[in-house]
Symmetry: D2
Subunit: 355 residues, 4 copies
C-alpha cells in the first residue's frame, strides 16, 4: 500500500524540472490592455551572437516572454567566413519554431553605425536586405518605408559616448523631426540611461529595455546580481504582433530590470496599483491600526517618505504580504514615493495606499 505511493513520490522528484515550460512572470495587465513582456534586441550567430536562432526562442519561452525581436547587425558579420551572409536567415529559421511555441517573433535588424547616429533597431520589417545602404539615414528611410518601428539603441553606450550621457546630434533631430525615431532604450544589457526618460517625454517616444544579448541569457542574468532579464512591457489591446506594433507606436510601454520600473507616470501608476492590494484593517487597538499589503508581483517595491504617524518606509517583497501598522492618530492620505518606479530623470512615482 505504502509502496504504491512511494513510487509516486520518487518519480515526482524529477517532475518540477520540466523543460520547455514557460514561467509565469507575475506582472499585472492594465485596464483594457494585456501586458506583453518583450525583448526587442537580440543577436545570433548570424551577426556576432553565440547561438543558433532557435535558442533565442527557447530562452524567451523559459523566461516567460511574449515576444522577441531578433536583430542581427547589418553592418557587422564577423562570422562571415563560416556563415553565409543572409540578413533574413535568423528570422526565417525560427519563425515556425516560435509559432509552435506561441511566441510572437518580430522580424528585425540592427543598423550599426558610429555615433552619430549610433545603433538603431528596425522592428517589424519585411526584408532586411534593402537596409544595406551606405548612409545610416538611407537605411533608416528604407526601414520606415517597410513600416518599421525605429528604436535608438543604447544611446549612452560608453564605447560611443565616453561620458555615458546620451546626446541629440543633428541627425537625431532630423530623424525625430521625420518621426523616424519611435523608441529609445532606457535599459540595455546591464546599463541604463536616465536621460532617456526626458527624451521620451519630449518627443513622445516609447521607452524600451532590452538585453542586447550576444551570449546566453541564463549565464548573463544570474541571481543575485539580476532577478530577471531586461524587459520592455508593452500594453497591447491583444496578444498579437499587430497589437504589439500598435502599442509600441503609441508609446504604451514601461521597462523592467534590476528591480526597477521606468516610464510614463500615467502607465506606471495603474501598473503599480495592479501589483498591490491593500487590505481592510485586520486589527485596531487603542494606539494602532493594522492592515496588510499584498504584493502580487515579482517586483520588490520600496515605499519611502511616508507621512506623519505612519511608517517612514515600507518594503513590499515580491509575491508577499506585508503587515503595516499606522498610528490611530493618522489622518489624511497614506502617500509614499515608490523609490524604484522612476517616472522622470529625477522623479519617482507617488502613490497612495487606501486601506
Amino acid at each position: 500500500m505504502k509502496k504504491l505511493i512511494l513510487t509516486t513520490l520518487l518519480v515526482f522528484g524529477f517532475l518540477a524540472t520540466g523543460a520547455g515550460q514557460k514561467k509565469i512572470v507575475r506582472l499585472p495587465d492594465l485596464p483594457g490592455y494585456v501586458t506583453l513582456k518583450c525583448d526587442l534586441h537580440i543577436h545570433t550567430v548570424f551577426s556576432d551572437g553565440d547561438v543558433w536562432p532557435d535558442v533565442r526562442v527557447d530562452e524567451a519561452i523559459r523566461d516567460g516572454l511574449d515576444a522577441i525581436a531578433i536583430t542581427d547587425h547589418i553592418e557587422y558579420t564577423p562570422k562571415k567566413d563560416y556563415i553565409k551572409t543572409d540578413y533574413n536567415a535568423a528570422y526565417n529559421i525560427c519563425r515556425d519554431y516560435a509559432a509552435e511555441k506561441n511566441l510572437i517573433l518580430i522580424h528585425g535588424a540592427e543598423i550599426t553605425r558610429d555615433m552619430p547616429p549610433g545603433h538603431f533597431n528596425a522592428l517589424f520589417i519585411e526584408d532586411a536586405s534593402p537596409l544595406v545602404r551606405d548612409s545610416a539615414y538611407d537605411a533608416i528611410a528604407e526601414a520606415v518605408k517597410q513600416g518599421a518601428f525605429i528604436q535608438w539603441n543604447h544611446p549612452g553606450w560608453k564605447a560611443q559616448e565616453p561620458d555615458g550621457i546620451p546626446k541629440l546630434y543633428n541627425i537625431h533631430l532630423r530623424l525625430l523631426n521625420n518621426g523616424w525615431i519611435n523608441g529609445i532604450e532606457f535599459f540595455n544589457e546591464s546599463e541604463y540611461y536616465p536621460l532617456v526618460l526626458t527624451f521620451c517625454q519630449k518627443y513622445n517616444l516609447a521607452v524600451t529595455g532590452n538585453s542586447d544579448i550576444h551570449g546566453l541569457i541564463s549565464e548573463f542574468y544570474t541571481a543575485p546580481a539580476y532577478s530577471n532579464r531586461p524587459m520592455t512591457l508593452v500594453f497591447a489591446k491583444e496578444r498579437t504582433l499587430q497589437a504589439l506594433k500598435e502599442a509600441l507606436f503609441a508609446g504604451r510601454t514601461l521597462v523592467y530590470f534590476r528591480d526597477i520600473i521606468a516610464g510614463r507616470e500615467d502607465l506606471a501608476l495603474p501598473f503599480f496599483q495592479g501589483c498591490i492590494r491593500v487590505s481592510k484593517p485586520y486589527m485596531v487597538t487603542d494606539k494602532s491600526i493594522f492592515f496588510e499589503i499584498t504584493n502580487n508581483s515579482d517586483i520588490p517595491f520600496q515605499l519611502v517618505n511616508g507621512p506623519v504617524n505612519a511608517p517612514p518606509e515600507i518594503h513590499l517583497a515580491p509575491n508577499s504580504v506585508t503587515r503595516v501598522v499606522v498610528d490611530r492618530k493618522f489622518s489624511g492620505a497614506l502617500l509614499y514615493d515608490v523609490k524604484n518606479i522612476i517616472t522622470g530623470e529625477n522623479k519617482v512615482l507617488k502613490a497612495e495606499l487606501r486601506f
Copy 2:
C-alpha cells in the same frame, strides 16, 4: 544623473530579503470557500520542542500559513527540570503576537499515550490543564466537553505500529462511535499513511497533514527533498477561527505535502480545476491542435494515462505554462489521471481538460 539611480539600485540589493513578510502560497480558493493553509500539530520548549512559542508564529507567517495549532504534549514534558509545567503557557505566550501578525492561533494540546489509542490532538480547547487524566478516554472526553476537534495523530507511526499500517483497535471504534475522532493525519512530519483515506471516507472524518515539528521548520523542510512544509488545506466560509473550526468538523479539507494533494474527490476536483486554466487553441495545423495549460499554483501536476491521439503524459510545472499538442484526429474527452492527487487508498483523481 546616473549617480542618483545607482544609489537606488544598490540599496535595492538588500530589499528583496525582507524579514517578517508572508510568502504568498499559490493555491486556489474553492467556490464559496477560502482556502486556509494550516499546520495543526506543532511543539515548543513547553514539551519536547526546541523553540520558544513565538518562533512558531514567525515560521508560520514566513511560510504563508493562515493558522497553526500549538499542541505540546500533556504527558511528556522532558524539560520540566528547567521549565515550569503549564499546559496553557505556549498558547498564552504567543496569542497576542499571533493576533498582531494576523495569524489564526488554535489552542491545542497533544494527548500522548501508547498505542492503542496512540496520540491525539485536542484542538480549539479552552484549558489544557483538565486534560491531565489517567485514562486516554477520559482525557479525550474532557477535550470533547470543551468543544474540541479531536485529531488522531500519525496513526501508522512505526514507533507505535512497527509495520507502518494504521489499525483500528477497540478503543478507536468506541471513540469513533462517540463521534470523538474528527480527523486523522495522512501526512505527519515526513511520513504518510494511505489507509487514512479509507478511514476518512468510512467514518466521514477530516483528513489532515501536519508537520509535528519539534526542531526548526526551515532546517527540516529543505529543498530539493521538500518544496514545502505539510499543510492541512481547510475550505472555510471565511478567514476566522470559528469558520476554520466549522470547516474542520465538516471535513472540508485536503492535505498538501511532497508535491501531493490527498483527500476527498469532491474537493480535489474543484481544487485542481482552480489550479489550472486551459487556453483556446493558439494554432491549428493540418495535423495538430496546439493549446496551453497554465498551472497557476505552486504544485507540479503529473497527468498520465492520456487518451488516444493526445500525449500519454503531461507534466504541468508549478507557476508555468505548458504547451500541449493533440492530433487533429482527436475527439472525445481529454481525460487524464492526475497522478499526484490521491483520492483513495488506490485511486487518483481523473480530470478532463477542456480546451
Copy 3:
C-alpha cells in the same frame, strides 16, 4: 570611518559572481597522476549543436574541466544551407581561445553511422576531412592512421538499440581485434550502460563518460536533477595533451556523473581513499568509540552493508565531516560497500575505513 568600509562591502556584493573564472572541482589526484576532468563528446553549430565553438570553451572553464573534445558529426550537418561544411572549422575557431584559457582542446570528429557499428568519436586527429568515407570501417581506419583514440559512443542508445542494451556485432569484434576501439561511453548525456564495464574489462578499454551536448550545458545539467555534467576522469602523468592521450590509451580512467563513479577497481579504490580521511577517535566511552570521516570531495558517498557493532549505513555528504560511532565491542576491519562506486556490471567497491 564606517563609510569607508560600507563602500567596501557594497562593492563586494557583486564580486562573488565573477565571470570567466574556473570552478575548483574537488576530486583527488591519484599517486603519481594528475586527475584531468574531461568531456570527450561535444557538438557545435558546425553539425547539429546550438552554439558557436567558443561557447564550449567558456562552459568547460566555468565547470572546471581540464580538457574537451569538439566532435561534430561528419555525416550529419543539418545547418549546411547556412554554414559552410568544414569539418575542422570548430576546432580551428577555438584552438587559440582554448589555449589562452589554459584548456586542453582535443581535435575530434564523430563518425556517425547506423547500428552496427553506430557512432564513434575519433579523438586526437589531425584532419577530419579524410574521415569522409563511404564505409564506417574505412573512416575509422583513416582516423587510426592519424593516431586517433577511437571511442564507441552511447552503445545502448535506444534510437539504435531499442532495448537499451549494448551489443557486440561482428564489425565491433573486428574493430576490437584490430585494436581500433580504445574506449566506450558508460555515461552519455543522461544515460548509462552498465554492460560497458564488462566490455572495458574484457577488451581492456578506457571507460568514458561525456555530455554529448548539443544545447547548453548550464540549462541541461541543472540541480537538483544533476549536480554536475558527466566527466571522464583521466589519470595522466601531467596536464598536457600528450599525457592525456597516453592515459586514455592506457585505460586509466573513471567516469563521474549522477553522484556515481564507475570504472576499474584498481583506480576506484585509491580514488575513494583520496576523497576521504578517517580521523583518530575523538571520544571513547564505556560503550562507544567516536571518530570523524572527512569527505573532501564533491561526491556524496553511500557506505552500506557495514559490519557487526558498526553503523549499517554511513552517508558521507560532499565537502563535509561525518561523525561515526561504533560499539566498543567492535573488532576486525571496518569494511563497507560503497554503493555509488560501481566497479562491474553487478559489483560495487568494497572499502575499509581505518580509524
Copy 4:
C-alpha cells in the same frame, strides 16, 4: 541490469541532504597553528534567546564551527516567569551533547550593563552564579578570578552609543589597565566597528567577530545578503579548549564576515597566502604572460591598485581559479591592495603575487 543501477540513482537523490553533518569551511591553517572557527557570543531561552541550548550545538556543527560560547545575559532574563533562573543551565544542558559532536563548548555569560561600561562576555568561567553582582566592575573581577577571558561586546552598538562609534570611558581604561579586557568585537550580528582595530593594536587585544544570535542562525544569515555567519578565527596550537583559550589571550585572531577579513597584519598576510596559490606561467606570447591564481578558500578576494603593465584589479572568486595576463614588459613586484582584508582603521593588506 539497468534496473539495478536505476535504484542506486534514485536512492541517491535524497543522499546529498545529509542531516547532522559538518560543512567544511575552506579557510587555511597558519604555519604552526590550526584555525579554529568560533562564535563567542550566543543566546538561548535561558536569557532572551529563542531556542533550547542544543540547537546552538546543531547550528554550529552544520556551519562547520569548532567552538562556541553560550553567553546568556546575567542581568536580563525576560522568560523567568516560565524558565527558572539558573545561569549555568544552558552550558550544563549541552555540554555532553557538544562533546559527542566534537564541538568545543566554552562556558560563558554576558555581563549586561548600561554604557559605560556596556556588555561584556566572560568566557571560560567555572560558575556563572557569582557574577551576579551590583557593580559591573565587581562582576568582571569575579570572572577574572575564575580565569575568564573578558570580551567587550558590540562597543559601538547604537542602542548604547547613538553615533555608532566606540568610546573608551574611564571604567574601560581602568579595566584595560588591570588587564581585564582581553578582546573586543569588531563584528557583532550584522554590524562592525572599524575603530576596534585601533583599540586592539593599542592595547594588544584579540579582535573578535560573533553572531550574538538570539533567533535562528539559518534564518538570519541568509544569502545573498550574507555568505556566512560571523566567525572569530583563532589560531591555536591544537584543537582543544585549553589551546583555544591560550590563543585568545595571546591575541592570535582574525575575524571573518561579510566577505571581509579583519585583524593584525602579521596574521592576515600568512592567512591570505594560505588561501591562494599562484601558478607558473602556462603561456607566454610576444606580448603577454599568462598565469593562474587558485583561490582555495570560501572568501572572494578583491585585489586593487595593481602595478603598471598588470591588471589594475583582480577578482578572485571563492573556490575558483582566475587567469591573469600581464604585459611582457612587466617587471618588479606584482603588488596589490587586498581591498577586503582590513588591517587597520584605514588600512588594507598589501600582498605580493609571485608567479
